[in-house]
């Protein structure tokens, strides 16, 4: 397939993915907006006013970057896992399998579809947060690059989940039992400096901690961890997960008999 044809195929998949989540915006864009507005009200305004400062900022300012990141990563994951599993379930994935579209183009299409939803939700949540606090971006480059990389990581993880899922139950197990606990324990609501040394060490095994902290650094200029190392770690995740996804597609794991 010529590069221009690959580009057309990629655009087709990407456009289809965006139209899918826009068509069902009540299920995809509205719920995170409502949930995050509730978080802002309850944790930021009601409880946050009693907590006082954290890391030199009001609790609302501290918690907003984490909540934006939480909505970005969960939506990037959800979009790919539900869309790709649904294509598997309905066998419409065969439309791509019989076509000359290379596997890496299929992967990029689904992955960036997930990134698009993650960023769309992140944008909506950011706009909502402005009703509760002001955001002065410390470093736009760091903020934008970490949010995109995080979105890519979770879109790829969602893809792997979809490949191995055998039922709709299987696509909710990982978000419920892995993603949510890791997110809540990933420094969204607190600074790990508040934890005893042992639990700080345990927390540093959680990749979401790095993503949330780098994003918080981009917005507020404060972080519990080294930003350069965090970027390197997220970069490694992107490369490893992309390679695993491509291997699964090339080998036809759970996709070809």
């Amino acid at each position: 397939m010529k590069p221009v044809e690959q580009w057309i195929s990629f655009c087709t998949i990407f456009r289809k993915e965006i139209r899918r989540f826009m068509r069902i915006w009540v299920q995809t864009l509205l719920p995170p907006a409502i949930t995050m507005a509730l978080y802002f009200v309850i944790f930021g305004t009601l409880i946050g006013s009693r907590i006082g400062e954290m890391g030199g900022f009001t609790y609302m300012q501290f918690v907003v970057p984490g909540l934006i990141m939480m909505s970005v990563l969960t939506n990037s994951y959800s979009n790919v896992v539900s869309s790709f599993y649904s294509a598997k379930f309905q066998h419409s994935i065969e439309e791509l399998q019989v076509s000359p579209t290379p596997n890496y183009v299929i992967l990029l299409g689904y992955m960036l579809g997930g990134v698009a939803r993650g960023l769309a939700v992140g944008f909506i949540v950011t706009l909502l947060s402005l009703f509760f606090t002001s955001l002065e971006i410390h470093s736009l480059a760091i903020t934008v690059s970490i949010v995109i990389l995080t979105s890519v990581v979770f879109a790829l993880a969602g893809f792997i989940n979809a490949v191995f899922a055998n039922s709709f139950d299987d696509i909710s197990i990982v978000p419920t039992f892995v993603l949510t606990p890791l997110t809540y324990l990933g420094g969204v609501f607190y600074s790990i400096n508040m934890l005893p040394e042992f639990w700080q060490g345990v927390s540093k095994l959680n990749p979401i901690l790095y993503m949330v902290n780098v994003f918080r650094y981009g917005v507020l200029g404060v972080s519990d961890i080294d930003v350069a190392w965090a970027f390197a770690g997220v970069g490694v995740f992107v490369v490893v997960l992309f390679s695993v996804c491509l291997y699964l597609l090339n080998s036809g794991t759970r996709l070809r008999a």
Binding site: M1, I8, L96, Q97
Partner: protein, 311 residues
């Protein structure tokens, strides 16, 4: 020498559970052919098609489409191929036109050309008025036609249809036959699997019968039908009959009080039969084949193959 539209060499497939679906089959389909791939359920037809269109991993052998090996010239081979599967496999929530447009995109067709082709094939298949409806709202016959439109949008040189008329009413089936004959006449090679043997007999010029993962026969339809030594006809009689008349050289059997069955040897004239029946005051008002000729051969070849395998 012309490059075959499809070449299959020693194709083998053993599933993870140890079931040997294909035991090294070989097959050539010539360009422009209308080819029937027949076999009972579980014979290996869908596995063969699955391998050709990359939905099933083969465990041995080679497949080439117009000379392009599906392993080494993946893109060129796939560009030549269109597939209409047995099961509905489009996104049921997508609009009809989006299903076809997206498929065009997956083959790298620019959007303007994709839109033009989408309109062309949706119109040809009587779905243009339904283009803004979700696929799930279509009737079964319309869903089948949608899959044909989708398979044709990149104008493949080889079209494989896996039981395209299953569950389709006779009127629609006949209009589908006309459409398939039309695109075959325009140069598209067609491979058809079907359980309606009448369909295969009337449409296809060449045939392969597969059973238990092996090719039982692979020949022209004419040659295959010539193997039939006897044919049975049902004669509808005007008068009420009490017993079958005895006529020398013909074996007549009474089916009911208004119909007879006669077995005729290959090459045997029917004139004598009608003369004798007329002399016996038996007036024939109509006559038809008792069963489809291909069906008789199919049943005989498959049961011979099953007996061979059992021994």
């Amino acid at each position: 020498m012309t490059t075959p539209a499809l070449t299959i060499k020693n194709l083998a497939k053993t599933y993870g559970n140890g079931f040997q679906a294909l035991k090294g089959i070989s097959l050539d389909v010539q360009p422009g052919d209308f080819f029937a791939l027949l076999g009972p359920n579980g014979a290996g037809k869908s596995t063969t098609i699955g391998v050709i269109c990359s939905l099933v991993n083969k465990t041995g052998g080679e497949v080439s489409i117009f000379g392009h090996n599906i392993d080494t010239h993946f893109s060129a081979a796939k560009r030549m191929l269109g597939v209409v599967p047995q099961e509905f496999n489009f996104n049921q929530f997508e609009l009809v036109e989006d299903v076809v447009m997206n498929q065009a995109g997956y083959y790298g067709l620019p959007r303007a050309l994709a839109a033009e082709r989408t309109e062309k094939y949706l119109r040809k298949l009587g779905l243009w008025e339904k283009r803004r409806e979700a696929g799930r709202l279509l009737s079964g016959g319309m869903k089948r036609r949608l899959m044909i439109a989708r398979a044709l949008v990149h104008e493949p040189k080889l079209l494989i249809l896996d039981e395209p008329t299953a569950g389709v009413d006779i009127e629609l089936r006949r209009s589908m036959w006309e459409f398939l004959e039309e695109i075959n006449a325009a140069g598209t090679t067609i491979i058809l699997t079907t359980h309606y043997l009448e369909e295969a007999e009337s449409l296809c010029r060449n045939i392969a019968i597969i059973n238990q993962g092996e090719i039982v026969t692979n020949t022209s339809m004419r040659h295959l039908l010539a193997q039939l030594n006897k044919e049975n006809f049902v004669l509808d009689v005007q008068e009420t009959i009490i017993e079958a008349p005895t006529i020398q050289g013909y074996e007549l059997k009474m089916l009911d009080e208004h119909s007879l069955e006669v077995e005729v040897e290959k090459g045997q004239s029917l004139n004598g039969l009608f003369t004798e029946l007329s002399a016996a005051n038996v007036n024939i008002v109509s006559m038809r084949n008792k069963s489809n000729r291909l069906e008789e051969l199919f049943v005989s070849l498959v049961s011979n193959s099953n007996e061979g395998a059992a021994q």
